[in-house]
């Protein structure tokens, strides 16, 4: 398991490669990369800054990875989330899940992202032509997390 919160970029290929390194028992790796968009809520976004709660962030991410491991039989999980100022097109978050079969990898990857969206203490502030604004949480994110019957 690998959980990182960092300012620098990450490389999906390198992370998946590290996961496979030296092992031949993995049958499936599902991955997700979230990117900074140049448009949100009808206005252009020149950049965004991600704030977090350092003492809690890694604890919250570890808790959601533990929950995924309790629900599915997983061989490895990597979660990397960036903080600081990001430009459109920059990668924000990476989740990669290894398991013997695809079903568990797909499900656990989606679960981790849905859980992260509502439980991990990160906040986005966007730079738009009208000035800076904090991104509001979406009801659809709560609905997505609720599908998994989170406590």
């Amino acid at each position: 398991m690998k959980i990182l919160v960092q300012t620098q970029a990450f490389d999906l290929g390198a992370e998946v490669g590290a996961m496979r390194q030296g092992r031949t028992d993995i049958g499936a790796i599902a991955s997700f990369v979230g990117l900074a968009r140049d448009m949100n809520e009808g206005s252009g976004v020149a950049a965004m800054t991600l704030e977090h709660y350092p003492a809690m962030t890694e604890k919250a991410l570890a808790k959601l990875v533990d929950e995924a491991c309790a629900r599915w039989s997983l061989q490895d999980v990597t979660v990397i989330h960036r903080v600081g100022r990001l430009l459109p097109g920059d990668p924000i978050v990476l989740v990669a899940v290894a398991s013997q079969h695809r079903g568990e990898a797909f499900a656990a990857c989606e679960f981790i992202m849905d859980y992260l969206k509502t439980q991990a203490p990160f906040w986005k502030k966007e730079e738009t032509p009208a000035g800076e604004r904090w991104v509001d949480a979406r009801a659809s994110d709560d609905a997505a997390a609720a599908r998994w019957n989170l406590s």
Binding site: M56, K59, A60, H81, T118, W123, A137
Partner: protein, 83 residues
Amino acid sequence: MTLRILYFARLRERFGVNEETLDFAGATAADLVAHLQARGGAWAEELAAGRAFRVAINQDIVALDAALPDHAEVAIFPPVTGG
């Protein structure tokens, strides 16, 4: 009891404070929220019933009826928007 209280993101900006230490006589997170709300202004607005905010005690998000242990680190923040 003594609490260390942290604020993040939009709430940190609206309250104009990152963190504070508070001597507090209440028992639950709801008691603390009511105490802060009574400061008026942005506190009353942002922590009003029906406003969306989260409370964490010792780095775990809790419901408002959660008990406050002495020397707890309490964080109050808007719903999260990472990912």
